[in-house]
């Protein structure tokens, strides 16, 4: 699953640690999501979407959805 988390974070000039603390997760978790090593749980995806004021599908792109 692709996501725009890194871009959205950079636009706000936040570090991974800062984003992690805003979301209540570790810096490593933010890094793992950004690099595609880990897909967040639904509650975490909602927290991310709320933080950026966007819908989940505007941040996360399910590449399998079209197939």
């Amino acid at each position: 699953m692709k996501n725009r988390l890194k871009v959205l974070r950079a636009e706000r000039d936040w570090s991974q640690a800062e984003l992690g603390s805003r979301l209540g997760v570790s810096r490593q978790a933010v890094n793992a999501i950004e690099t595609g090593k880990y897909d967040p749980s639904l509650p975490l995806a909602f927290r991310i979407a709320r933080l950026f004021g966007m819908a989940i599908e505007e941040i996360f792109d399910d590449m399998d959805a079209g197939s």
């Binding site: 997760v25 570790s26 978790a29």
Partner: protein
């Protein structure tokens, strides 16, 4: 109804049900030569095992609250690797051809070491490779 048609959780229910039976039999096959004592010992150890499992499940719940999703997923997936690897290693280690090589059969301490090492290895694998691949 085929095995493939079952849901993944039903398959897991069956697998862990099977593991519970195998574990109970393995515990009951204690060193006691008299059937009565073997049964009592087996039941006592099985009850203790279940009590410790409940305690471990409660501890994991606390841990899940403290750590984020990613950390918990890493740990839980690594634990599966640890358990499966320990099972395989203990089975192979107990085989006759290993004894013929002059390697002593595994004791409890060695298997604890295998469990810890394989859990740590599983963690390292998922940490570097990621949970999605």
């Amino acid at each position: 109804m085929t095995l493939r048609s079952l849901s993944s959780t039903t398959k897991m229910d069956l697998m862990f049900g099977f593991l519970a039976i195998v574990g109970g039999i393995a515990i009951a096959r204690g060193p006691q030569p008299v059937l009565h004592w073997a049964l009592v010992t087996g039941l006592a150890i099985a009850a203790l095992t279940i009590l410790f499992s409940i305690a471990a499940a409660l501890a994991a719940k606390i841990d899940r609250r403290c750590s984020d999703d990613y950390g918990f997923q890493l740990m839980a997936n690594a634990a599966v690797v640890g358990v499966v690897a320990t099972l395989f290693i203990s089975l192979i280690w107990d085989m006759d051809f290993v004894a013929a090589l002059g390697i002593a059969p595994p004791d409890g301490r060695a298997l604890n070491g295998v469990l810890l090492l394989s859990w740590a290895s599983g963690y390292a694998i998922y940490r570097f490779r990621g949970l999605n691949r």
